[in-house]
Point group: C2
Chain length 106, copies 2
Amino acid sequence: MANSRRPALVHPDAGDLTVYEVLHALADPTRLTIVRTLREDVERACGTFPVSVAPSTLTHHFRVLREAGVIHQREEGNRRWTTLRHADLESRFPNLIDTVLQVALD
Amino acid sequence: MANSRRPALVHPDAGDLTVYEVLHALADPTRLTIVRTLREDVERACGTFPVSVAPSTLTHHFRVLREAGVIHQREEGNRRWTTLRHADLESRFPNLIDTVLQVALD
DNA sequence: AATTCCTTTCGACGATCGTCGTACATGAGC
DNA sequence: GCTCATGTACGACGATCGTCGAAAGGAATT
């Protein structure tokens, strides 16, 4: 199984998030599109995001978001489901995500 | 005079600011300290910010903030006075600056 | 005019960034 | 079994980043 053989996904504790890492994670068009999409649909598989980059690039962006504590990913079969860590982000950085999303309407 | 001989300082129009450049500008401890300081004191000279980097590094950070549209600088004598472009930022990205500052209490 | 102060410009440095192609691993379905 | 779909890992690439020291300009002061 992928769940047991592959290295477990690392998710930092809510208390360890830094505003600098989060801001940096949000300061990219592709990554902000990912976050905006997750704000509308609770959970999505990797391949279903409306972005236009190579698969390996997308994996890279997911790692940046995950290590910054912005998203959570869980594996199921050969899919990886992604959610926004909204509660953690709210408790640590109140209003930040929604303010950024509201301001970045594109 | 410095005002006429040195290349004029470039300040982007409020309408040209991008949320990505602004977020990137804010995603650095030194630069966020500068912004926080300007939120308290309206106008300050370059050398008076509570940061600990080399003068040339400070100049670099001011340029990043200025070109992102976060700060405004004017020259007077051999001093350069810096202000936050709060009204422009508010009109373009409502609540963004204050939310980030409130969240980054350090 | 000489000195001192404030700030910039330039070039450099190692590090990180966003991007991609290739190869690989897993799971589902035939 | 085999194939296809999903997604990752690795290595590479040029670009940008944050940092600094050295040198210099301009203004204020003496």
